[in-house]
Symmetry: C2
Subunit: 433 residues, 2 copies
């Protein structure tokens, strides 16, 4: 990709964003439905392009698991289209009045939601993200610059072409959905330095992708996705509950960011809880990376318990592994979470209102769960209807991001000749009003 | 400054931030009042330190205007203390429930305001900012790393010491207010790279300071302050009103970011409006940098009208200068504002509801004024009670920033053994609950 090619699509996106931003809901929903219909109508073409990616992946010795994630067939395309229709059914965040009042001087003040502008998405893996991200951005009035994995480049190229063709028959400019041309690392770098052309970058993928974007980008970034989540079993925990929550948080879907990666047990309940937890985790095929106190309960469980390292405590396994430690107090649990966690989701299991208040107040994470699995930190579960990612940063958006998180705001104030003077507001004389 | 010195204060701030974050309002307000009292009680010491800065400035040939801005006396210190007391009187944004509901599965979901953590402020000029910024951050539960102008280093050192001493007798940790040690450019660079120690950087000052922070910082930045504001006089404008608004926006306080720097006049009213505007601006001592059509009305006004350059249109004068052009349509005015503006505040003067709707929808700025002076874009005028700056970026905060803009959010969900399964939520059995 040349810099010139990139500039061409980025400028097209910027121009489209300016046209798209003031559109009300109806033409945006119509455009989304046109995209959904076109995806289904042109399934064969998409499957054909996808076959090129799949064949190349197979040649490169990609695992069957990854190939399955990459693959598209008519059924999966129908599901992608259905998701787009669901986005059309969601309320439009743009234009929402967030705050507003009449000031003492009579100025009418409103704060409105407006689109961010051009959103760059850098993502790995599945080609459905190409359509999901474009649909969510379009609904919230934003143009999209998509930079997917090079392993899905052929699929993504056709998916974007189908979306652009569908938009050409609607009020939404076709330029509102753009694929960053080229598959090299250079194209990511160019995107990250496109300050002034791109308003926000959202990287979606593994920790190394996200870190490199955060470090190198001059475009503002929303960090997503890395989840080193903890389950803390308090001295006052119901241990049956704790066991089920721990198992659910670890085992139900280990590959996702809201799965648990460490559990901490208060020393007062270690004797009663840890042997049961280890047996249950062993039964579920989980390897426990435990500290010395955890290990002391591990006899007779074969190789279920292995020694934990400092690095383990900071690791997002995304696998059937979990780190574990016994702590002497709630405060020690909090200190551990602050030191090693990724500020995604941390849970406490306790019967005590005071302990839960304290844990919620002291744990500085995007989400804190009380007597519930960490797996609920999710835009769908929270009722957002859709999710572009889970922010683990503090600025702009924190936790699951739905459509409102893809907007900025604008202040509007309306007067009738309001002037500011050192003595306060004066209304200009207006003989012809 | 050594890297070691910086790390010491940054770590102290981070530790203090963790202690400060969960505090409720009362101890924070008490701490702010203790700071106000200490500033007044130790006025003499502060004035003495300030005299060192003033003497050095005078030696360096600094203008009397700048020296006046730098100077502190007992009266000014009393005013600074009074501003701190006013911050104590403001409501506490921390803990506010922004959203919340009971999910269909019974999970109780709340989104709470929480402090950002450690806020770095890089600023120029007046030493009162040292206290203002620290007070606003403290009220919103944040620790502050202050990096003021080296011209005020002696004053800032004593102001921070007085604040820390005052905090030592309160529940707020003294480490919550920190001065970045050293006066070199290196100390700014170290602050900008302190990702993980500093949560947000807010640069306050001129365009070059802000641009360098935005370009170089790996810590998330909130851009503030550059204002290239426009007044557009529509074809349907009341021209008396337009004249007063234009004069107020330009002349009432030319040195501030919400002053007007360009006016645009619809061709349909140019004959009627421009001669009056030029005469009035000339009377107020304003130089008009006009395009050819503006210049055609400038005869007989001496050197009031000078030719405008491309650069003028992009300039924040902060002086008795204004750029001006005649445009053929509202859309051309919007295009001009999009091309040259800084997305701070832009005003339309019009009687037409349709024109005002269109201008508000198309102008992508932090604030849009209708029939009012641009000078109202201000936290005080908006009723925020205080302002840390005016954000001209789209992420996190846009426009005047009060206390809520110095916070992030946290999701809290409370269940009774809620587990997520592929078939939906299951409540764990809890025999002992």
């Amino acid at each position: 990709m040349s810099e010139h090619d990139f500039l061409k699509v980025a400028l097209a996106a910027k121009e489209a964003a300016a046209e798209l931003a003031p559109l009300p809901r109806a033409p945006k929903d119509a455009a989304l439905r046109a995209i959904a219909d076109a995806l289904v109508a042109r399934s064969a073409e998409i499957v054909e392009a996808n076959a090129v990616d799949v064949a190349r992946a197979r040649e490169n010795g990609t695992s069957e698991y990854m190939i399955d994630r990459l693959g598209l067939d008519a059924g999966r395309i129908e599901a992608i289209a259905e998701a787009v229709r669901q986005v059309a059914d969601l309320p439009d965040p743009v234009g929402e009045v967030i705050r507003g009042n009449t000031l003492p001087n009579g100025l009418e003040l409103r704060q409105l939601r407006v689109p961010l502008g051009v959103i760059g998405i850098i993502y790995e893996g599945r080609p459905n993200v190409t359509v999901d991200a474009a649909a969510l951005c379009l609904k919230s009035g934003n143009a999209t610059l998509l930079r997917g994995s090079s392993s899905a480049y052929s699929s993504n190229t056709v998916l974007v072409r189908v979306m652009q063709d569908a938009l050409a028959g609607t009020e939404v400019p076709a330029g509102a959905v753009q694929l960053v041309p080229g598959q090299t690392r250079e194209s990511v770098k160019t995107l990250m330095k496109a300050r002034g052309l791109v308003d926000v970058l959202i990287p979606r993928g593994g920790a190394s992708l996200i870190n490199s974007v955060v470090e190198e980008s001059t475009v503002p970034v929303i960090e997503t996705g890395v989840g080193n989540c903890h389950v803390y079993v308090d001295a006052e925990a119901d241990l049956d509950l704790a066991l089920e929550i721990l198992l659910n948080a670890k085992v139900q879907r280990p590959s996702v960011c809201n799965a648990a990666e460490t559990f901490l047990v208060h020393a007062a309940v270690a004797d009663a809880f840890v042997p049961r937890a280890l047996a249950a985790l062993a039964g579920a095929g989980v390897t426990v990376h435990g500290d010395a106190r955890i290990a002391s309960y591990g006899e007779g469980l074969g190789d279920t318990v292995v020694p934990v390292t400092e690095e383990d405590f900071g690791t997002e396994y995304l696998s059937l592994d979990i780190a574990a430690a016994v702590v002497d107090s709630l405060e020690d649990a909090v200190a551990h979470i602050r030191k090693y966690g990724s500020a995604h989701t941390d849970a406490i299991v306790t019967r005590s209102v005071t302990a839960s208040r304290r844990f919620v107040a002291l744990v500085d994470s995007a989400a804190v769960a009380v007597n519930a699995s960490t797996r609920f930190t999710d835009g769908g579960e929270f009722g957002f209807g859709a999710e572009i990612g889970i922010s683990t940063q503090k600025l702009h958006a924190r936790g699951p991001m739905g459509l409102p998180e893809l907007t900025s705001t604008k202040w509007v104030y309306t007067g009738e000749g309001h002037l500011r003077t050192s003595e306060g507001t004066v209304i200009a004389s207006c003989p012809n009003a």
